[in-house]
């Protein structure tokens, strides 16, 4: 190691001076409480690298991933978006990125006021009354929604309406086990009963279909259950706000509007609810208030604080609504800036462009000999394609041609998914990639 290391400012001379002032002979004296039998074990770590070496190594590693230019039609929970250029620029402001949870509001108004903007944007998109500043990801947010529904209804089971993202269902199951809740996967809302705390519905669903939420809200409410909608916030640029369709809690994934998919994370769980559930919400909430003392023009100024903290772990401990502490604040900031940059027209236009481009690509595929579009109703950006060969074979054949196929969903129970791949085309999928896909599918069809 170079001494001193660039991250550690103290020099040998500094250390000697500090030790003398403390009144100990050496650094070891400060570790005297550590049990001698376990001190300084052999630890096998890779050797340290200088900055240029580190850059070279990780550039090489990044190059071992598929090239970013490779056409890909994967969606299924992570979507390539046209993220406004100002997002990454503003997120690199280190006053934002190197701050922590805003415990001192007087010097954290940037994080807090942005958090208030985020809550406002999430409420507007989802049609809900209250939102927190974000949870880890859509799946853990949905799990928290199930726990909140169970707390408020005092029921011990939750229902998931298929098709729902398997990752979301998986996390709900993990959290539910700890809380002692039963999880039922339902094919239709007919399976609901009065021991269900909530019905969880994904919008659009895992196979891309746009769901009519109102009948589901009615079905849930008829048995005294809450409706939890797991919504794609980008699709909400054109789809009805779940709150207007009767949702009680809305969750969603905000990562894709804030930046690149990054192998799934950092992610961002959106969490919004109706006003009656405010005091049962997990996570941090920002509130607007005023200065205690007026500034010199006589008027107390407006500011923002973390509020309703009696719900939280650091005060309520084992009676908290959740254990969540650090979540995904910086990604929430990126999400807020992206939505506000797009604005009301831009978000709608973007969502409709996504819809048009996906449908156009689907139409071109369906026109190829041997390919069938398996529609289950109106859809947004993902569609099921059955080809002339089995789904795994088609996926492999595309891969050989340098194209990443849509997700293989052929093992799902829905009849439309049989032998099908779930393709995704968004507003950000390059035209040249769609052209390459069509050509490759045609060539594969010709070879069969």
């Amino acid at each position: 190691m170079v001494s001193p290391h660039p991250y550690i400012p103290a020099t040998e001379a500094d250390r000697a001076r500090m030790l003398e002032r403390i009144g100990v002979d050496d650094l070891d004296a400060l570790f005297a409480d550590l049990p001698p039998a376990f001190r300084d074990p052999a630890i096998d770590l890779l050797p340290a690298l200088t900055e240029p070496e580190l850059i070279a190594l990780l550039a090489d590693r990044a190059g071992q991933n598929a090239a970013p230019s490779r056409p890909s039609f994967l969606g299924a929970g992570a979507y390539r978006r046209s993220v406004p250029s100002i997002v990454s620029h503003l997120l690199s402001r280190s006053e934002f990125s190197t701050a922590y949870t805003p415990y001192q509001p007087e010097i954290s108004q940037g994080t807090l006021q942005s958090g208030f903007e985020f809550q406002s944007v999430v409420c507007e998109l989802t049609g809900m009354d209250v939102a927190n500043v974000g949870l880890y990801d859509v799946a853990s947010a949905t799990a928290e929604a199930c726990l909140m529904a169970a707390r408020t209804t005092k029921r011990q089971a939750v229902a998931l309406l298929e098709p729902i993202h398997p990752g979301t269902a998986g996390v709900v199951n993990t959290y539910a086990r700890g809380a002692g809740l039963r999880v039922d996967a339902l094919a239709t809302a007919n399976g609901l009963s009065d021991d269900h705390a909530c019905l969880v519905v994904q919008q659009p669903d895992f196979l891309g279909t746009i769901v009519d939420l109102e009948p589901l809200a009615n079905a849930a409410h008829d048995v005294g259950a809450l409706l939890v909608v797991v919504a794609d916030p980008f699709a909400l640029g054109m789809l009805k706000a779940p709150g207007d369709a009767g949702a009680d809690i809305v969750t969603g994934e905000g990562r894709d509007l804030a930046g690149a998919p990054a192998f799934g994370g950092p992610s961002l769980g959106l969490f919004a609810a109706g006003l009656p559930y405010l005091r049962q919400m997990p996570g941090r909430i920002v509130g607007r208030t005023r200065e205690l003392h007026p500034s010199n023009d006589g008027e107390p100024r407006t500011g923002y604080v973390l509020t309703l903290q009696a719900r939280e772990q650091f005060i309520r401990r084992e009676r908290a609504t959740s254990n969540v502490s650090t979540a995904q604040a910086l990604i929430a900031l990126g999400f807020t800036i992206a939505v506000q940059a797009l604005g009301p027209r831009g978000l709608r236009e973007s969502a409709e462009l996504c819809y048009q481009r996906a449908h156009d690509a689907a139409r071109r595929i369906a026109a190829l000999a041997g390919y069938v579009l398996c529609e289950r109703g109106p859809w947004f950006q993902e569609f099921l394609v059955r080809g002339p060969i089995s789904a795994p074979e088609l996926s492999a054949a595309l891969s050989e041609r340098g194209i990443t196929a849509g997700l293989d969903v052929s093992d799902r129970p829905e009849p439309e998914a049989r032998d099908a791949l779930l393709f995704c085309v968004t507003e950000a999928t390059p035209n040249t990639h769609v052209d390459a896909l069509i050509a490759a599918l045609a060539a594969i069809g010709d070879e069969v």
């Binding site: 991933n65 940037g110 208030t289 100024r301």
Partner: protein
Amino acid sequence: MTAPGPAREDFGDRLSVDRSVPGRRAVDVPTWNGSETSLPDPSLLRDSLRLPELSQGELVRYYTALSERNYGIDSGTYPLGSCTMKYNPKINDLIASQPGFADAHPQAREEDVQGTLRTLLELRDGLAEVTGLPHVSLAPAAGAQGELAGVLMISSALEDRGEHDTRRRILVPDSAHGTNPATAAMAGYTVTHLPTADNGSLDRAAIEQELDETVAAVMVTVPNTLGLWEQGIEEVAGLIHDAGAYLYADGANLNAIMGRVRYGDLGFDVAHLNLHKSFSTPHGGGGPGAGPVCCTEELAPYLPTPVLDECDDGVVRLLAPERSIGQLQQFHGNVGVLLRAYAYLRALGLDGLRAVSGQAVLNANYLRTLLHGHYDLPYDRPVLHEVVFSGSRQRRQHDVRTYDIAKRLIDHGFHPPTVYFPLIVPEALMIEPTETEPPEAIEALADALIAIAEEAAEDPDTLHGAPWSAPIGRLDETAAARRPVLRWQDIDVSESISRLSR
């Protein structure tokens, strides 16, 4: 009380909606020129979307102004105890943002993301070495989720032992982070609080008294939140195991001991780390973090999904452990944070990690020495990564609370330390300088705190009204909670909202 200087703008009253002018926009969207597909039935579509309309430059100025109303590590010393606010190397951000990493799709074939997976595998191996716990899942998104993973793993192990229904208690010291008891409750356990002994370590007799066949686990933060080593923890581990329970390590304070002592060697069964703390990834104003969970051979089958392994064909794969507690994330965790942590680990190596823990401990003790006598020190002995003073004397003698001291520190250009935590220290000031502060910064922090202690005696009102130089003064937190205004749609004067076009 009135601040000197000219009146300042009420910036907080000017939200994005107040700056909106209908017709402006910050980005353009390509027009679709292909054949039109009719939209879904209007009953499925929204008929209004009320968002602010600003030009690109205005929006950038608004958020730039907001950033200027924030304080980060790059702004100055940020000695927030238990949060390890150290300098975040910029190379780590650069690395994570490389398109090869950033554009990787979470459902990509493993063969197409070997660069990411091999890097994560090496991080896994590094964390296993540093903790002495050989099995690791990188999936948890933050420390609290790592805790949940660890406790659920213990649950599953007890279930397989047939003791899940009888062992329903988790013991947590009264000095623990709130996440520990909250996690235990989320996992379905009742919490028994353990007292801290006079030496600042766990009360051995109290543990022995509580340990019985109803205890599932003991969660211990090492070093603890007083900045002290848990005396005799290796013997306590033996007692806990003899009683058939598991020992959990909250690794939030790993920074003090990296490269010097390991949880696994001491007898811990499972630990979570906070990579955003010890491994210096940007805290982001409250995340993203990463909370990997590390465990023994015995608990390995229960790790959350996914774990990583290099298979016989040389491909690194994402796998589900045999008896996994399941997934904690829709995908694979906060991978961008994990890549940054890897870069940090590689920039340091073992000697570097030891230099980190050594300097972190030296800095905390230097501060302890400089402040000695100026504030009460309830546990007056050498500390590890942080030192907890008490403002009790200032409260008693001058009616100045720790709250006031913290706010006054802002006027001296510092972020205040953690206050009123741990709960067992009255008027607590929990200060963690970290290794990345130079001695001059620690001396300046000490000088400021000494000046404030003197000011408490001479001019307590200045402290009661502080801060005077921040972008905004003390805020009315009571009013915020009593009548919540949580979004722009709630603001009384709906003038702002009326500016938005439907």
